[in-house]
Symmetry: C2
Subunit: 566 residues, 2 copies
Amino acid sequence: MTHPLFAKHEDTLQKALAAIETRGYWSPFVEMPSPKVYGETANADGEAVFKAHLNKIFELDQPSTGETVGAEVSPFGFPLGVRYPKADPDALIAAAAEAQRDWRGAGPQAWVGVCLEILARVNRSSFEIGYSVMHTTGQAFMMAFQAGGPHAQDRALEAVVYAWDQLRSIPADAHWEKPQGKNPLLSMHKRYTVVPRGTGLVLGCCTFPTWNGYPGLFADLATGNTVIVKPHPGAILPLALTVRIARDVLREAGFDPNVVTLLATEPNDGALVQDLAVRPEIKLIDFTGSTQNGTWLERHAHQAQVYTEKAGVNQIVIDSVDDIKAVARNIAFSLALYSGQMCTAPQNIYVPRGGIRAADGTLSFDEVAQAIAGAVQKLVADPARAVDLLGAIQNDGVIRRIEEADQLGRVLVESQALEHPTFAGARVRTPLLLQLDAAHDHASFTKEWFGPISFVIATDSTAQSLDLAGAIAAEHGALTLSVYSTDEAVLEAAHEASIRGSVALSINLTGGVFVNQSAAFSDFHGTGANPAANAALTDAAFVANRFRVVQSRVHVEPKAAPAVAG
Amino acid sequence: MTHPLFAKHEDTLQKALAAIETRGYWSPFVEMPSPKVYGETANADGEAVFKAHLNKIFELDQPSTGETVGAEVSPFGFPLGVRYPKADPDALIAAAAEAQRDWRGAGPQAWVGVCLEILARVNRSSFEIGYSVMHTTGQAFMMAFQAGGPHAQDRALEAVVYAWDQLRSIPADAHWEKPQGKNPLLSMHKRYTVVPRGTGLVLGCCTFPTWNGYPGLFADLATGNTVIVKPHPGAILPLALTVRIARDVLREAGFDPNVVTLLATEPNDGALVQDLAVRPEIKLIDFTGSTQNGTWLERHAHQAQVYTEKAGVNQIVIDSVDDIKAVARNIAFSLALYSGQMCTAPQNIYVPRGGIRAADGTLSFDEVAQAIAGAVQKLVADPARAVDLLGAIQNDGVIRRIEEADQLGRVLVESQALEHPTFAGARVRTPLLLQLDAAHDHASFTKEWFGPISFVIATDSTAQSLDLAGAIAAEHGALTLSVYSTDEAVLEAAHEASIRGSVALSINLTGGVFVNQSAAFSDFHGTGANPAANAALTDAAFVANRFRVVQSRVHVEPKAAPAVAG
């Protein structure tokens, strides 16, 4: 009775179950783009396949109006020219309802087995997806491969295994037998049917289309829902490739492929999304994007469970250090990585204006600020190497934001345009680092400045720094908080601030781990308890409301006592 | 390190964990008001303690304005005269925030241990609480004792054990060690702190103040939240007694008793509740009551997780029977029990107008309707016995509804006022049974007529009956669906209708189980997937969003490889 795809991947599932129990390091998908793992020609093949998509119509045999849409432009300086079949949202909703019938009845093992097979095939397409992530988001290739490929696949599997962990805890049936004193037992057979909520809507973002899109997509599928994937108009291809693979697997497994469909759109699709998001058939929405759009969904899509990841203000508190160079190097890397276009990238760096303790004495505020500034400048000094870290700026809105931020305070490091050695038209900017003061710049640093924009902020004391960090996370949202201190009492106070702000804390990162990084199966991404996100990736709460249980009960002969003569 | 109250009750907790895994019969709290279990004088003592509350000020040492409130009237015909300390909602919110500090830090074992101790003591007060439920809700004593006492305690424990099941799956810490090829391992210690959401608000109802109030209250407490309990103004005493016990246990365990407070109010407290429900400190709301109020909360209390149980239309489909008398007897009991004032009581009974198959031939529509009508009349023929089943009508709104419903169709059984042999002023009414037709009475039977009001509805066929049942449950909500058929194909179709309507199905109930009954640890009460309720009692989804996890991470020496020289 075990579904063949479930049986095929059961070993992976068991390992994943063990991983979420201990939350130590585990990753089934290899993050290095190694020829030994992915094949000797995988990189070249993947790039060729990616290039073959350019300036063509993307084949997808789903309900379509017959027209095409698509206006993606690579942040590295050229239009992709990919045209996708245009779909009428009504037709996709109807197709999802039709596909739901058999899919719903297939049950948890089939849902999970299909998900695991999709992921295995997505993994094999990691290079193709990696190049498509690179040329939609602006991530440099290595990051696009890792974050858009195996790391996103890890996060997807994490959602699947959390779903399975909840699904398996619901018995398929039960024998209920209640003593009645001297009277015969009351005896019933009960049957529990897991019922998906209906159709899910996954709203992708333009910076991490797969990493942020997969958890909702796979959590929905693993709990038996149908899904309409609506990518950001600027980053359609990575999700289109994923949807096509999912549809192939569904079809081969005997299901209607319209369990998963793609809703590709032109830019400025806000009205279309709002109309779709409040449709009664849409029961689940996963969104990553602006606070404005996320809050709109939370407040208007009452018919749906809405999971949002929105803006936040990530912060670093510097109290005392052993080695300021190692601290500055680690921070600078975090600021430069993908030009700060990560939802986990730090923005506010608090330093007491009286300076800090270091291993060999004290450092003034200016010395700390200059150490960070110097580390940033060093990282981007060689454009050819810098672009592999910075990638490109996803859209012109970020460029405008850099220009606007430039006026906010004293400039520690100016943002500069760099020439990309390979892509002449690439939109590359180095990080902007400003000096602000907690005493009078509150309005500036309590909002998110998405992009390569960060502030070294002078505070009265570490106590004020931590107070700001906790309060700003609680009020404005945050996904990360980082602290540097050699003082146990300060670290304990930082822990309290992280609880107050309900934000994940990283302590004294000076080596190969950066605050921006969040590892599936170990790090919870977001807490769901501050305005940056209303859910965490991934925990039980992220999956438990994506299905319901419908029971039936009927009298049967008792088991515990002699059967009543019948 | 195990909390003493956790250790004290761990055996119960382990049994409860086993129960939710199998969902067979289990109940730790004895439902019979037996002197052997509860003590020889428990009944008399409990009644005396209840009576001692009448016409007095209820002692509760919590923040108060110094004034008193309370206007409860027994449906059995006398004012209770209990006055409760009046509380300013602001003061309760402030007290909860203050109490939160130590309570949050105590952690899952303390939260769960305290909950289990509260329940053990509440159980010992079952008679006192039973009489207080009786004289606020109008339930006859046996039901008030069982549903208001041990059954409510079972539901509370169920919420606690589901919470514990989720809490225990989060490791307190983890060692994360990531290979780096030829480079040294990356090695981190991670700490996961369970963080409650904040303050919960439990909004009680006037018919099942404890049964419907406890799950939210105990789910909140077991996940470390503080709770403000706001009973229905008509049924304060049962929850006031519960809150007082909870506060005693908290105080004895060394916690600030303001972890749980009571907000007693005068009737017509809607504006007060609405103001409180949207306060930023209120992060969880559990509500049982009208669709209007529940929907208001869902649409306005955006800052909170809102769990609602609202109105619904419960239905019975009669297709074919072995023994019409047994069917009619079972249905009549369900209609009469607590005068239909149960959220699970059936309202619409569908019978094909061409009649049904029975063991010994066919029965016409009228014969089926008359069998049910006759069974109802027989049940209430002897007023002295009838009142033990009917109890009293909770409020005048129900009386007015009976009068209004009387005009809807042909009367099969008229509702009558009965004299209560013990309580002269008791508001007792027998069930009203009307005949309607699916062809032209749709507007009448697609809304809830809360109270002893039900309809035998002529349909074209069982297929139409099931179609109505599924569609009405899906659109208007339902907690129960019951089917009578000797045909396996019809039972399968009924199962499909129950899935479509996302409503629990009972099949061929003719014995000692009634559709109104929902047993903790086995029956899910509500599915959370139709408009009657947005959550089920109890499953993982009911508890998983009541807490969040905040993590921290710091580099440590690797375990798996030789330590790097430091």
